[in-house]
């Protein structure tokens, strides 16, 4: 069986890549993608800890991950809605150009 640390390292890598995407890419949608990756990495951690934890029967980690998936869906819907609304206003998805706080 693969050890816990391997899963955690993969999760850390995905998290770091997601973070790098949010920090370096200029497109707002890609930044959202980065955030999704970070959330996913967290989910992997949750499930890995659940599996390797002392009481997997308690389902806690898995429940966390399932709720987190549900919340991520909501987050994606709202986030992308915002990007589309912003794009309709100012015709750009470039975060560096998004310099107006109010619509």
């Amino acid at each position: 069986m693969t050890p816990l640390a391997a899963f955690l390292i993969v999760a850390a890598l995905v998290f770091a890549i997601g973070f790098a995407i949010s920090l370096t890419r200029r497109n707002a949608i890609l930044v959202l993608i980065g955030i999704e990756l970070m959330l996913n990495a967290a989910n992997l951690n949750l499930i890995a800890f659940w599996r390797f934890g002392p009481y997997p029967e308690a389902l806690t980690g898995m429940m966390f991950a399932i709720f987190s998936i549900a919340v991520a869906a909501a987050e994606a819907a709202v986030g992308l809605g915002l990007v589309i609304a912003y794009h309709r206003q100012s015709k750009t998805t470039d975060l560096d150009a998004m310099t107006r706080m109010k619509g």
């Binding site: 850390a12 890549i17 890609l30 898995m62 399932i66 819907a77 709202v78 150009a97």
Partner: protein
């Protein structure tokens, strides 16, 4: 088995990380979104290896079936298909990369130092029924809250993305909003 890792695990993690990297580096936004789905699928496979069937299938259903499609739709709706007209990376990409690398280094250091060898107990027999019962008993409050959240998010996203009405009547009542 290589370094105590199963070959399936190595393949799926390479797939996952490669997808994420591609999403980070590719120029074309749709390609980024598509490689993102590879990552999502890879993560689902990792969940399956961790005996979390339900979470894995939910992951595919939600992320590939909904989130990825949503992302793709958003890209097309914002005229982003193809390569954006501005440069892909922000001017201080270097700093961002450094921070991300730092975070990875920190996490990896902590993980490797603290958990060198921990071995899983026998696979827990988790049926969907148990998950359902847990959702309806111990986790009923979070479930309700998530339900409300999803409803609110759905309505909110629709309202946010909806074009503002050009109805002259509604303009007069909120005339002072600007």
């Amino acid at each position: 088995m290589i370094f105590g890792l199963s070959i399936i695990f190595i393949l799926t993690s390479i797939l996952t990380v490669a997808g994420a990297l591609a999403a980070a580096l590719l120029k074309n936004l749709v390609h980024c979104a598509l490689s993102l789905t590879v990552t999502f699928a890879g993560l689902a496979l990792l969940y399956l290896q961790l005996d979390a069937q339900f979470a894995g299938f939910s992951q595919i259903l939600v992320y590939i079936g909904a989130v990825a499609i949503l992302v793709v739709f958003a890209i097309l709706l914002t005229r982003g298909s193809g390569i954006p007209e501005y440069r892909n990376f922000s001017t201080s990409w270097f700093a961002g990369l450094a921070i991300a690398a730092g975070i990875f280094a920190l996490l990896a250091w902590a993980v490797l130092k603290s958990l060198p060898t921990s071995v899983a107990s026998a696979a827990p027999q988790v049926t969907v029924q148990q998950i359902g019962l847990a959702l309806m008993s111990s986790y009923v409050l979070p479930l309700e809250i998530v339900a409300v959240l999803l409803t609110v998010a759905l309505i909110g996203a629709v309202i946010v993305a909806m074009p503002e009405s050009r109805d002259p009547k509604s303009n007069s009542t909120q005339g002072g909003a600007e």
